[in-house]
Every structure is written in structure tokens, then in C-alpha cells.
Amino acid sequence: MFAYVLRRALYAIPILVGVNLITFFLFFVVNTPDDMARMHLGMKRVTPDAIEKWKAERGYDRPLLYNAQADGSDRLTATIFFDKSVRLFGFDFGSSDAGRNIGADIKQRMWPSLAIAVPQFLVGLLVYVSFAMLLAFFRGSYLDISGVVLCVVLMSISGLFYIIAGQYVFSKLLHLFPVSGYEPGWLAWRFVLLPVVIGVIAGLGSSGRVYRTFFLEEIGKDYVRTARAKGVPETRLLFRHVLKNAMVPILTGVVVVIPTLFMGSLIMESFFGIPGLGSYTIEAIQNQDFAIVRAMVFLGSALYILGLLLTDISYTLVDPRIRLS
């Protein structure tokens, strides 16, 4: 099993290299640093000096791949590629175009993101599984049918609607929660509760429906019929036998998102004014701060690849056939 995991882990390296090359290509080859400087400084009245100054301040004034003027190893290291892309592998994000240290920002803004994302993930999982189990238990009844219809309707509503409507009803009309903002420490719950509830409801449609089919698939299997024939009561059957087996596809399916919880939710955080990584990314996109976007692309990919790795490991834990082969 160790060898298997090691092989999967090594496979992650070329993928990260690929991601890095794609971002490098997108950010430095499609548009030269000159274009970016012109964009930032405004299109009119841009003197070549101003462009040179802008580039020099941010370290974009070097050659892209090969520095012919430098000596020795500097020929390769004193380039934009080495400075901006290769350093990412050590999670050294450098400084943003506005001059802030991206690494420090990420460390600081990661916690509010987690404060929203982790409860949302856990509560969501609990709610979706219970909901799906309820529908599966009453399969074929009106409760089941109306539950599925509800899922389709919920799925068809834009995620933005949940946020806007939730904010309007709970914060503006009922004054139960602050509209937006954040406070570190335990007082954060007041700001966290509404986003979590809204996030859970927004995901109910798609997840509830998929999990229901997982349960139904499991209920249709032979061992369930055997157990029922032997006189196991339906509730016990569902909780002891079906739940355990249906959790396998559910859990292995969600493992991949666990690391990406760090990244936070772009939309949720910006609507609720939560100073997490999601709103950090949005601000960067809106201010056209390419250095931050580049860093977040790399970070997001690295976390996703970690998620894939965790998925592989969880499969080997669950299914001995993979472990032994």
C-alpha cells in the first residue's frame, strides 16, 4: 500500500509542473509584462519610463526564460520564470503587484475561510446524508417524490439567489444577523451562522439527489434482500447495513474537496464581507493583481492534487482489492 501511495504522490509532481507551465504561459507569454504595465497605469499618457519603473518595482524587468547578460547560474535564475514560477514550488509566493507579502496574507486570511468552510462542509454532509436516507426510507411514497421534486427545484435556483434572499430575509427584515463583516475569535459565530446555513441549503438539491441514488442502489443489492428475508427490521437494515455501504461512495467522493476548503468560497465571502481567501481572490481579480491570482491558481491546484491523493488513499482504506493489487 505504501508503494501505491508513493507512486500516486510522485505522479502529483508532473501535474504541478504542468499547472505551473500553464499559468506561466497565461500570465507572461500571452501578454508581455509591458502590456500588463500599460493596463495598470492606464492606457493614455504612458511613458516608456513609467512602464520600465513599474516593471522594475515588481521584478518584471528581467528576461522571460534565459538571461544572457548574467553570469553562471544566474543566467537561469535571474529570469521571470525562475523568480515568479519556480519559486512557487517552495510555496514562496513573493509579493503582490500592490507590494504586499502574499504568503503572510494567505496565512492570515486562511482562518476566516476555514471558519465558514469547515462547518458548512460538516453540517452539509450530515444534512444531505440524513435527507437522502429519509427519502430512501420512504422510497416511492409521496414524501420521496416531493423530495425529489424539491431537489430539482433547488438545483435550478442560482446560488446567488440563496445568498441575496437569505441576506435580505434574515439580516434586513428579521435583523437576526449582521448583514456582513467578521470578527476573529469566538464572536465570529454571529457572522458565520448565516453563510453556513445558506451554503448548506444551496447544496441540498444536487447532493441530496445524488446521495439518494447511492442509497437506492445499495438498497437494491442482494445482501439487503437477504437480510430482509432473514427478518432484519427495515430501520435497522437501513442504519446498520445500507448506511455503512452507501457512505463509501459518499465519503470517497467528498474527500477531494477537503483540502480545497482552505480556499474558501469566492461568492459567499465577498457577499458577507468575510476577510478570507475567497474574497482575497475576488479582490485580486477585480483589482487585476496578477501576482495574487497566479499564487491562488497554484495554491488551489496544489490543494486539489492533495485532495486527489487523499481520495486514492481513502479508496485503499475502504477497498482491500486496491490495496492488495
Partner: protein, 470 residues
């Protein structure tokens, strides 16, 4: 005089229409092939599917009308040699909507309002300056006394309802005549059967859906001539007009993205599954890499880069519409790049399974070339997966547009889209009293489309997915 304009997305929309027409021609040829007919028969016999199909076609017709663009000629001036064309690109839909497009108020007004939503300083005849809600320029302007609004709306609605019922009744008769002729049975019997809902294909449900849509259309047509049915936005533009114009944007993103990604997904997925070995490794590496970049961030990065490119090359675009259109097309392309991986993986897995089956082995033994095996023996057996993926992706893409426009990496700010409407209205949320109609309009138009697409895709999946077939 008009000058037709074919935008890039228009061309692709027409291409898509051509593909669908070819498909229908093929269906005509294949109508005697039971195994091809059976799943479609199941689709059209589902009441849900038929009703949503009617809704979807209403949206599609609107979108197609909005895809025929032209530039109107400017009025001729003396001593002019050539006809000058307006810089404004219009569509057939714009001409049909006529007054809804051109009747622009000063600022916000609520649905069916006769007065502006905000106070303005007005100098009265006596020379006094007072703060009042002024009358709208167009909304309810025909009423001498705004108090009679209710009666006027009721009268117009009654006319609309009568028109809708008449149109549906005509359609009912037409369907009856056609069916009676085809089945060689008396018209009365067929009409009775239709009304009872006793036909194989649920015509009654279809007619109900048509009635509903006809009602909406006639109501809007009758009322919007005199009122702003969904209010006006900040610059006084009719919200109904914006919502209708947004249909094309939503449809283009939902369909063209798939059109762009399909060739890649099918080609690479089949190659990977059929040839295995290093081809498989390379293709798997490719899609895992692309897939591991968070979708929104990749789109954001690509769109940011395109913005820089467009800002630095303004000379490439003759009109604003062309520029906005290019951006829409690019968004479709980049959405396609991020969304082809799922289908590709699915097709790879299925091809891996299929290539081991006896009939493929037999074809190999007969010396059939690899290309022929891929195209003739494997591709047809993968098409149901493609079809399911296409219809399922559609609704997700329509919803994604709103989110991306909110983030600021969606369609061009000048393109009318539901995402842009929501984004614009969001800024007015803090206003007291709240300006809610833009939000509600955008969400309802989007919801209807996505719900219909979801229901239709369910029916298609039920019919085509062999695992679900009983």
C-alpha cells in the same frame, strides 16, 4: 436599408442549428430503426419532458431571433455618396420589441409604476421648487389619472388572455386535424381523445404548456406597450427588455461551450481508451492537469489576460457589439476548456470497456482498420453518453454565467445577461426601499430556463442511460 452583421457567436449558433437540422434529417432516415427510436419515444412520452421541451423551444426561438443582427442605415445627409450605417448593432428581436427597447425613463421605476421611484426637484407653475415623484415619460403615460391604472391593466390582461386562448385553441384544432388525417379517424374522436389526454404522446400537456407560454407572451405584449411590466433600472432601461435580451447570452453560453468542447472530449477520450499505453498516459495527464486548476480561477486568469489583450488591441474591433461578442465567444471557449475533462474521462472509461467486447474483437480479426473501428463501431455506442453530458451541462453553464459575471470575469459589461443584471442590482440592495425587480426578473427568467433544462435532461438521462433502463 440595412447591412446584415454576422457576429462570431451568430455564425456558431447557425452552425449549431445546422447540426441539429442534420440530426433531424438523420432521424428521418432512422425512423424505422427501432433501437434508435425507442429511447426518443420514451422521452416524448414523458409529460415532464414534453412540457419542458415547449418552454425550451420558446427560449430557443427568442434566442435565435436575437441572433440575426444588422446595422440600420443612418438618415442620408446632403452630398453624401455612400450610405452610412449606424454603429449600433440591432437584432430582429430588437425590432420586434420596438417600444420596450426605446422607451427609456430617467431612472428607477417600479413594475407598472406611473411615477418615478425617486424624488426629483421640479419647478411648479408658480415658480416654487418642490420635491415630488414625477410622472414617467412612457410608463402609464396614456392615463389621464394614474388612479385608473388597475382597470386599465385588467382590461389589457383580459384582451391578452383572450388572444392566448384563441391561439391555443387554433393550435388544438390544427393538431386535431393533422392527427385525424394521419390516423384516418374522425376529427371529433381525435379532439375528444386529445382533451382527455388519451394520446401516447402527451399532447394535452404540450397544449397546456403552450397555453401558459402564450399567456405570458400576450400579457407581456399587451401590457409592455403601455407600462414597464418589470420596472426600469438605474438608467431607466426597461428590465423586461434586458431579461429577454439576456436569453440569448444564456443560451449561447449553455450551447456553444458544449459545441466547442465536444470534439476534444470525444476525440481524446476515445483515443485514450482505445490505444491505451502512452497515448492514454499523455491524455490522462493533460486532463488531470487542466482539471486540477480550480475552474473559476482558470477562467478568471484567462479572462483577465484577454482583457489586457483587448485593451491593448482596440483596433481589432469595429463596433462595441463585436468586441462584446468576441468576449462572449472567448468565455465559451475557456469554459469549454475547463469543462471537457469530465466527459473525456467518462468516454475513456467507456471505450476501455467497449474495446474488449466480442464485436470489436471480431472487427479487429476481420482486419477492419482502427479508424473504422473507432468511427463505426465505438462512436455510435458512446453517443448516448455524449447526449446525456450535453443536456446535463447546459443548466450548469447557464448558472455559471451569473456567478462569473458577478466575479467580474463573465461576459462583457455591455452585454445584457442575467449575471450582469444581478450584479448591477446587487449594488442597490442597500437602498431603502429596496430595488428588487431587476433581481427578481433575472432570477425568474434564469430559473425557468434552468428548471426546464433540468427536467428535460432528467427525461433524456432516464431514456438513454442503459443502467437505468428497465
Amino acid at each position: 436599408m440595412i447591412q446584415p452583421v454576422i457576429l462570431w457567436t451568430d455564425a456558431l449558433v447557425f452552425l449549431l442549428v445546422a447540426v441539429v437540422l442534420l440530426f433531424l434529417l438523420f432521424a428521418l432516415y432512422a425512423r424505422n430503426k427501432e433501437h434508435l427510436r425507442a429511447p426518443w419515444r420514451q422521452v416524448v412520452r414523458s409529460r415532464m419532458a414534453v412540457a419542458s421541451l415547449v418552454v425550451l423551444s420558446a427560449y430557443t426561438v427568442t434566442g435565435l431571433l436575437d441572433s440575426i443582427h444588422f446595422r440600420a442605415a443612418l438618415p442620408e445627409t446632403a452630398g453624401q455618396r455612400e450610405i452610412q450605417y449606424s454603429g449600433e448593432v440591432l437584432s430582429v428581436l430588437d425590432t420586434l420589441l420596438g417600444p420596450v427597447r426605446t422607451q427609456v425613463e430617467k431612472s428607477y421605476s417600479a413594475p407598472f409604476a406611473t411615477h418615478l421611484y425617486t424624488r426629483e426637484s421640479v419647478t411648479t407653475a408658480e415658480g416654487e421648487v418642490v420635491r415630488i415623484f414625477p410622472r414617467l415619460q412612457f410608463g402609464g403615460a396614456h392615463l389621464a389619472d394614474p388612479a385608473h391604472k388597475g382597470a386599465d391593466i385588467a382590461a389589457r390582461s383580459a384582451v391578452a388572455a383572450a388572444q392566448a386562448v384563441a391561439a391555443t385553441a387554433a393550435l388544438y384544432l390544427l393538431a386535431g386535424v393533422l392527427l385525424a388525417r394521419r390516423r384516418r379517424r374522425p376529427l371529433i374522436a381525435i379532439l375528444g381523445q386529445l382533451a382527455r389526454g388519451g394520446t401516447d404522446i402527451p399532447w394535452r400537456t404540450a397544449l397546456f404548456a403552450v397555453l401558459l407560454i402564450a399567456l405570458v407572451v400576450t400579457l407581456l405584449a399587451n401590457l409592455s406597450a403601455a407600462y414597464h411590466v418589470l420596472g426600469t433600472d438605474k438608467v431607466g432601461q426597461d428590465v423586461l427588455y434586458q431579461s429577454i435580451k439576456s436569453i440569448r447570452t444564456g443560451l449561447v453560453i449553455g450551447t456553444l461551450t458544449t459545441l466547442v468542447m465536444l470534439p476534444f472530449a470525444v476525440f481524446l477520450g476515445m483515443l485514450a481508451g482505445y490505444f491505451r499505453g502512452w497515448v492514454d498516459d499523455v491524455i490522462q495527464y493533460l486532463y488531470t492537469t487542466l482539471n486540477s486548476i480550480p475552474g473559476v480561477l482558470l477562467i478568471a486568469a484567462a479572462v483577465l489576460m484577454m482583457q489586457v489583450y483587448m485593451a491593448n488591441h482596440p483596433e481589432l474591433f469595429e463596433t462595441m457589439a463585436e468586441r462584446a461578442d468576441m468576449r462572449l465567444l472567448f468565455l465559451c471557449l475557456i469554459l469549454g476548456v475547463t469543462s471537457w475533462t469530465g466527459l473525456c474521462r467518462l468516454l475513456r472509461g467507456e471505450t476501455l470497456k467497449l474495446r474488449e467486447l466480442d464485436y470489436v474483437q471480431a472487427a479487429t480479426a476481420f482486419g477492419v482498420s482502427r479508424a473504422t473501428i473507432l468511427v463505426r463501431h465505438l462512436l455510435p455506442n458512446l453517443l448516448h453518453l455524449v447526449l446525456i453530458a450535453v443536456v446535463i451541462d447546459f443548466s450548469g453553464l447557464v448558472l455559471a454565467e451569473a456567478v462569473l459575471s458577478y466575479v467580474g470575469v463573465g461576459v462583457d459589461p455591455t452585454t445584457l445577461s442575467w449575471g450582469n443584471m444581478i450584479n448591477g442590482a446587487r449594488l442597490e440592495m442597500a437602498r431603502e426601499p429596496m430595488v428588487w425587480w431587476s433581481l427578481l426578473a433575472a432570477f425568474s427568467f434564469m430559473f425557468t430556463l434552468v428548471l426546464a433544462a433540468n427536467l428535460f435532461s432528467d427525461a433524456v438521462r432516464d431514456a438513454f442511460d442503459p443502467r437505468l433502463r428497465r
